[in-house]
């Protein structure tokens, strides 16, 4: 009676076959629409002459739309300055896929490969790189507080081997926007994950500003996405709108959040445009693509020989007002005309997934703001 061993072995074989075949099927399916997505923009300047192909290690914490946009921005920004991947520079892109232990291994790999500049997207990735980099310059991106994260000593003069960009959340503009859309709002919810250190400054600012504006604040945290549905449900039922800082866990689980909040007709104001595209109502967001482009500018200075210790951290100020008219319709809200004017509407850009990808390219031209 060995039939279960036989069945089990057969199933294991199937699992292995799928493991080997599925990535091929997936890429074959995605080939058509994704063609050219990763290619640098056509607006590339002339290639800079370098004596050799410069090796760059690029580490991203996890794939989600806003971090992917930062990455695309870096490629585009580099191209604009005449550095094209595969031509005069070679970018070794690795994705940590959210696995913290993997970040260290990848970083070690970069150092072993003698990459000349390391680039980290999101705080844990940049920290992992800096810890192993030694003298190798590190450029960070997608970070709210590099000083608290121990990456640089100060913004003006990093004093370490790491420099890059900060994208402080424009909380004040955020809350003003929420007030403009919902003048009667009394209770504001704040939702973020307790494991994220990235959001602390935004949460602190939001609480202070909300108090000044006479809003009651209800603060909730989650430890992982399994808790999101219930926590969001509860928070949505007791607040007039919910503010979501730049939180990677929630960004990955927007559909869950939106399903819960829509049921209570509670608008969500995230701080990232990609999160608006996935169902948030509106934001004054740091332009994610612009963060990448600005990072590329810092990166170019480092590539051209400046010491990171002397390159000031660039503060990304480009903000966009982004609204989602689909979400407004679902919530039964009318967006005030002065808000819609000049704002980018994610509903125009097609489906949610499409919007977050193509939105990055579009917004490059419309950054304005302050």
């Amino acid at each position: 009676m060995k039939k279960f061993t036989a069945i089990g072995s057969f199933l294991m074989g199937c699992l292995l076959t799928l493991f080997i075949c599925l990535p091929f099927i997936r890429t074959a399916q995605q080939q058509a629409p994704a063609a050219g997505a990763a290619a640098p923009s056509s607006q590339a300047a002339e290639l800079k002459k370098t004596d050799h192909q410069i090796k760059i290690g690029l580490l991203q914490l996890v794939s989600h739309p806003s971090l992917d946009q930062i990455r695309q921005g870096i490629y585009d920004g580099l191209a604009k300055h005449g550095y094209v991947d595969g031509e005069n520079i070679a970018i070794d892109f690795k994705n940590g896929q959210g696995d913290q232990t993997l970040l260290k291994t990848i970083s070690d790999g970069f150092v072993a490969d003698r990459d000349e500049v390391l680039v980290g997207i999101a705080t844990p990735a940049a920290q992992a790189l800096k810890n192993v980099a030694g003298e190798t310059p590190v450029v960070f991106s997608g970070i709210s507080d590099p000083v608290a994260a121990g990456l640089s000593k100060s913004l003006d003069k990093p004093g370490t081997n790491a420099t890059g960009t900060v994208d402080a959340t424009p909380v004040k503009e955020q809350l003003d926007l929420a007030k403009a859309i919902l003048p009667d709002a009394k209770r504001m919810g704040i939702l973020y994950s307790s494991s994220s250190t990235n959001v602390a400054p935004a949460v602190k600012d939001a609480k202070e500003l909300a108090a000044q504006m006479g809003l009651t604040v209800v603060e909730r945290t989650i430890t992982n996405s399994n808790e999101l549905a219930q926590t969001a449900e509860q928070l949505a039922s007791e607040t007039d709108f919910i503010f979501v800082p730049n939180d990677n866990t929630i960004a990955s689980a927007m559909p869950t959040l939106i399903a819960a909040t829509n049921a209570h007709k509670t608008p969500v104001f995230p701080v990232v445009d990609a999160m608006v595209a996935e169902g948030g109502l509106a934001t004054v967001g740091t332009n994610q693509h612009q963060i990448g482009v600005d990072t590329a500018e810092v990166l170019v200075q480092v590539l051209e020989g400046k010491k990171p210790a002397d390159v000031p951290v660039k503060i990304v100020t480009a903000v966009d007002v982004i609204v989602n008219s689909d979400a407004a319709r679902t919530l039964g809200l009318t967006l005030p005309a002065d808000v819609v004017k000049g704002a980018r509407d994610t509903a125009d850009a097609g489906g949610a997934a499409g919007a977050s990808k193509s939105g990055g390219e579009k917004s490059g031209g419309e950054k304005g703001g302050k």
Binding site: T5, V62, T221, N226, A229, T231, E278
Partner: protein, 337 residues
């Protein structure tokens, strides 16, 4: 009402997880950590197949079978390579992380735009959460009916005997290794199914969604056992649904009480520990109150009593011991299961 409905629907789709854990944890008497990864596996492979446009029912079947494959890996590590069962689970769980990533292609795979069971149910225009609840309840009923039938067959009885006392079962000619393999495959298949349903419900699969899932499964089983005692196996499995919903409600209550949500995990652990210790606590207090009371007044861990009937019921030492512990009337009778 909203909250109750949310708890019901979430409880429903997580119940299959509880039933899967029940098979390994209570019937086979093993703590199987494969769970945390086979749950994600079901979600990952199901989501990817859905995105590729496969029929939802077909992809659900694939998710079940691949979950079973994961269970088979762990069981073969235990039976053939003689690896400690906890370690075997951890080995499979570690390996599956990469496999899950390969299936999804990234740490997070959105189902927006894909045809799922939930979007197919959209044509009925059901209110939110009700579609999930119906889906979950239908799956629970199918699973419970199939398992109840299975555990009445000779093979099912052999599986139960293997869990109760592997040495005795072996001496009776039951191929315990094969039975363990079957149990692990069934359990993890159901867990993968639960992962598939959760991914369908939340609209995405995420590489970290399985973390802590075994706690949710165990909590459902244990709360179910505390609420409903001394029942037959089909009812016991249905009680997991009750336990799963109560666990969700407890968490909702915690939120209602405005307890700092940073302490969510601690509270889950406390709820779980309290429920697990109820039998012991009851024994302790009952013993204090009246030392001479008959033992039947003190029910032992209710779910642990899966006494085999056919093929040497009362000879199985473990079962006999437990039966004695719980008093007469349940030993070997239908009621015990």
């Amino acid at each position: 009402m909203e909250i109750v409905l949310s708890a019901l629907s979430q409880g429903a789709i997580w119940t299959l997880m509880g039933i899967g854990v029940y098979i390994t944890f209570r019937i086979l008497n093993e703590a199987d950590l494969t769970t945390e990864a086979s749950f994600t596996l079901g979600a990952a492979i199901g989501a990817q197949l859905l995105v590729l446009g496969m029929n939802p029912l077909l992809s659900m079947a694939v998710a079940f079978l691949m979950g079973a494959a994961a269970g088979a890996v762990t069981a073969l590590l235990i039976t053939k390579l003689k690896i400690n069962s906890l370690l075997a689970g951890i080995i499979t769980l570690t390996g599956l992380y990469s496999i899950n990533l390969a299936f999804m292609g990234s740490a997070n795979l959105s189902l927006s735009g894909a045809t799922t069971l939930k979007t197919q149910m959209g044509v009925f225009g059901l209110p939110r959460n009700v579609d999930t609840l119906i889906l979950g309840v239908v799956m629970i009923l199918i699973a419970v009916a199939a398992l109840s039938y299975f555990f009445r067959t000779d093979m099912g009885q052999a599986l139960i005997a293997t869990g109760d006392n592997p040495f005795m079962a072996k001496s009776l000619g039951i191929p315990t290794g094969e039975m363990m393999l079957l149990g692990y495959m069934l359990g993890n298949g159901l867990i993968a199914l639960s992962g598939y349903l959760v991914a369908t419900d939340s609209g995405y699969a995420d590489i970290s969604m399985g973390i802590g899932s075994i706690v949710i499964g165990l909590a459902a089983i244990i709360i179910g056992e505390v609420v409903v005692r001394n029942v037959s196996l089909p009812v016991r499995l249905l009680a997991i649904f009750v336990g799963s919903v109560i666990y969700r409600l407890l968490l909702a209550l915690v939120l209602q009480l405005k307890i700092n949500t940073d302490n969510f995990k601690l509270l889950s652990a406390v709820i779980l520990a309290l429920c697990l210790s109820i039998p012991a606590l009851q024994k302790f207090f009952a013993g204090k109150r009246a030392a001479g009371l008959p033992a039947s007044a003190v029910p032992a861990t209710p779910g642990a009593r899966v006494a085999p009937v056919a093929g040497g019921a009362s000879v199985a030492a473990g079962a006999a011991e437990r039966a004695a512990d719980t008093g007469v009337g349940e030993d070997g009778s239908e009621g015990a299961r």
